[in-house]
Amino acid sequence: MAQSKFFILIVFFFVMSVAMAQAMDEDLLQEKTKEVSKTLRCAVCQSESIWESNATLAIQMRDIIRERLIEGESPDEIRAYFISRYGDYIVFKPRFRGINILLWGGPFLLLAIGAFFLHRNLRKWTTQSTQTGPEHLNPIDEKQRKRIEAELRSLK
């Protein structure tokens, strides 16, 4: 008797937890599906992700992502699956390897190099100009001084 009650209890909890998990995770699941689908290209559309596209293939792919997420696969594993079937073309986010590293790192590298040269040149320019302090300029003669004063007066 006790055994069967215990058994019923276990089944009950199991069913409950599955139901709960599904109810609770529905929003999260959509969110994750969206996250993954936004990184995959709709192969039959023009530069749209399968999340945005309404093509049948895109809808089917979204369903597959959803199922694989439920089975516990990670987004990277799901992407790897699609890459193995459709090639690198299917992901909007080129994998960080090989020549693609240049794509990912290039802008930052450029920023670093640019900043370095800019900094160096700025140093050069500022040291150059410190020599041209007021004492290095041509002294103004009386005529110029008067003109400047007249102009200053006229400003007021």
Partner: protein, 183 residues
């Protein structure tokens, strides 16, 4: 006389590279798709048959040469290639090591059955439920045709209809040699 500075060279090289890239790019096709799954093991299929109430499993045919053709009743090019598919089946149907399946893609069962009635049929078809088979095979659209060897490796993928030269190429240079390979 010198006048060539480093940035000149960078700029010129950049411009030249750009123009070459654009020129070469003009002759490419931005919509062309790379074949990916060739020479990889064929994903297994278990799917309901279209015409009978039974399941078809690809695993059961390991050791045979398998031809998979993805088609749909709404697809115009499929109609053009259909009689060539019938011809392939007719040519090899007596060979026990040959199997051919049609995979009905993004279609309605009723329309698919009508299509087969109108255009004739001599091989078995399965239903691609929710696009699972086609996505597993990396199919972009129909028609696409795959040839799988005795070891279960995909050896050939044909995007677009099988007719004319493509037909003779597939029959003579793909299927026949594969049938002649030892199991």
């Amino acid at each position: 006389m010198k006048r060539f500075e480093t940035w000149h060279i960078f700029l010129l090289a950049g411009l030249l590279a750009l123009v070459v890239l654009f020129y070469k790019g003009l002759w490419g096709d931005p919509t062309a798709l790379p074949p990916v799954i060739i020479s990889k093991p064929a994903p297994d299929i278990t799917a309901p048959a279209l015409l009978e109430a039974k399941n078809i499993s690809l695993k059961a045919h390991l050791g045979k040469v398998v031809v998979l053709n993805f088609w749909a009743s709404w697809c115009l090019e499929c109609k053009e290639e259909h009689r060539f598919l019938l011809a392939i089946q007719k040519r090899f149907e007596n060979n026990p090591d040959f199997v051919m399946y049609g995979v009905n893609y993004q279609d309605q069962e009723k329309l698919a059955k009508e299509y087969l009635q109108i255009h004739g049929n001599n091989f078995e078809h399965m239903v691609d439920e929710k696009g699972k088979i086609s996505i597993d095979y990396g199919v972009y659209g129909v028609p696409e045709t795959f040839v799988i060897d005795r070891k279960g490796i995909i050896r050939h993928k044909q995007i677009g209809p099988v007719f004319g030269d493509v037909y003779s190429n597939i029959v003579e240079n793909v299927i026949e040699p594969l049938l002649n390979e030892p199991a």
